[in-house]
Amino acid sequence: MTSAATDSRAPLLRALSFGLVATAIALLGAWLLFGRGALPIQTDLLAMLPTTERHPLAEQAVQRLAHANGDRMVLVLVGDDDTQTKRAARQLGANLQRSGAFTQVLAQLPPFDLAQLAAPYLAHRFMLLSHADRAALTRPDYDPAQALARQLNQPLLGGIGTELQDDPFGWLQRWLAQQPWSGSPLLPEDDLLTAHRDGRTQVLISAELRGSSYDDGVQRPALAALAQAEQTLHKDYPQLQLLRTGAVFYAAPARADAEHDTHLVGITSTLGIAVLL
């Protein structure tokens, strides 16, 4: 009799045990998926690549250069009224700086001497030749006297950026002009990096993030600070247009998409396992 009763309760106990274990696994899965805050998802594709440089210092330098460009917001304020656009740019820069979400916001340029920009290259100028000058110097009919005369008699203005005695043939000037930064239409104007196109004023503002563009803890406060500053900007200057770029603007949606996909896969798998069991 006792043995029969025990036998009849055994399936119930097994079912209860299984139910408890299944619930515990489901809860554990749910906690792993949702209960630990942001998922440790790596969205920086470059960080997933193997090292490419032989020397660790070179690798470190490459990474620092990549982050120097990638870990910042680049904003351009565009408006028809030059004075108003510049005033708004200064205000936007100050608001972003006050937010504390950035290590540095560059709107108003610090004092610097344009002539000093060429200084680091002067010592190496004999190795720095533009492609055209390198090709010209190798030609058998190259006439240095003619080349010098052309340089000294350029129309309107002589050389800018280097002293004549340092660079009489203009080789360093032309090499500098070949560099990417020389092609920028942005010029310092009223202590702001400014360009003018189609009668409109464009002012550059650069905001350096407090960490990686791909770090969720960096993205959220930075984007929130920008949204807040943009709201103030549009309230005070509704006619101005704010353009933006930077890895952070693409990394945040990429992270959201990755998290969504991870959650979807996790839930589907859990449900599938439950159904199979």
Binding site: Q146, R150, N153, P155, G158, I160, L176, S182, E189, G199
Partner: protein, 206 residues
């Protein structure tokens, strides 16, 4: 000469807009109108450049063609032969076959001046006032415009640009902070008349 006039026009226009603060705004307006009446100009030029690093001044001669809205053709004849087409944001050298070769870098200063000129010709008078303080003196038959940079960084490189002229632009004087001085004197200024195929090609005219 034509270009000089365009320069004056562009420079003068901002001045006319700032008539409230410029006592010679009327003169500027008149000069501007005067210059605007010559859309295509040819002239002979003599350019002299003094530099503290040179034992003697450099001198070059040639002719200039200026076409409003398309830039200028700067043709040096002495001490070497060279033709430069200076447009909006670019400088191109014209080779013996008449082909244009874009000049990079060495013409950066020229390029900047040409860009400013083109923007002024396009009616962007505000740009000149953003960059320069402009003083006008004389009368329409003989006027002088002096441009002094208002931007501190520009002033460290460029001291002043002075234009002089009458019906046409007669002289440009560019003084750099390094002590370099470039004086360009224009003579025989006149309406350009018909342009050759090479001139039209160089200036991007149809």
């Amino acid at each position: 000469m034509r270009r000089m006039r365009v320069w004056l026009l562009a420079l003068l226009w901002p001045l006319t807009l700032a008539a409230q603060t410029q006592p010679d705004a009327a003169l500027l307006r008149q000069v501007l109108d005067q210059l605007a009446s010559h859309p295509q100009v040819r002239a002979q030029f003599v350019q002299q450049r003094d530099n503290p690093a040179l034992a003697r001044a450099q001198e070059s001669r040639g002719q200039l063609l200026f076409v409003l809205g398309h830039g200028m053709l700067w043709q040096t004849r002495e001490p070497f032969q060279e033709s430069l087409a200076i447009g909006s944001g670019h400088v191109a050298r014209i080779d013996a076959q008449g082909q244009l070769q874009v000049v990079r870098g060495g013409a950066q200063g020229i390029n900047q001046v040409a860009q400013m000129l083109q923007s002024l010709l396009a009616g962007d008078s505000a740009q000149a006032l953003r960059q320069f303080d402009i003083q006008a003196s004389g009368e329409t038959a003989r006027w002088t415009l002096r441009f002094t940079p208002t931007q501190a960084r520009t002033a460290k490189v460029l001291t002043s640009i002075t234009l002089q002229g009458g019906s046409y632009l007669d002289e440009i004087d560019v003084r750099m902070a390094s002590g370099e001085q470039t004086r360009i004197h224009f003579s025989d200024s006149r309406a350009a008349g018909a342009l050759s195929d090479l001139e039209r090609h160089a200036l991007g005219l149809p």
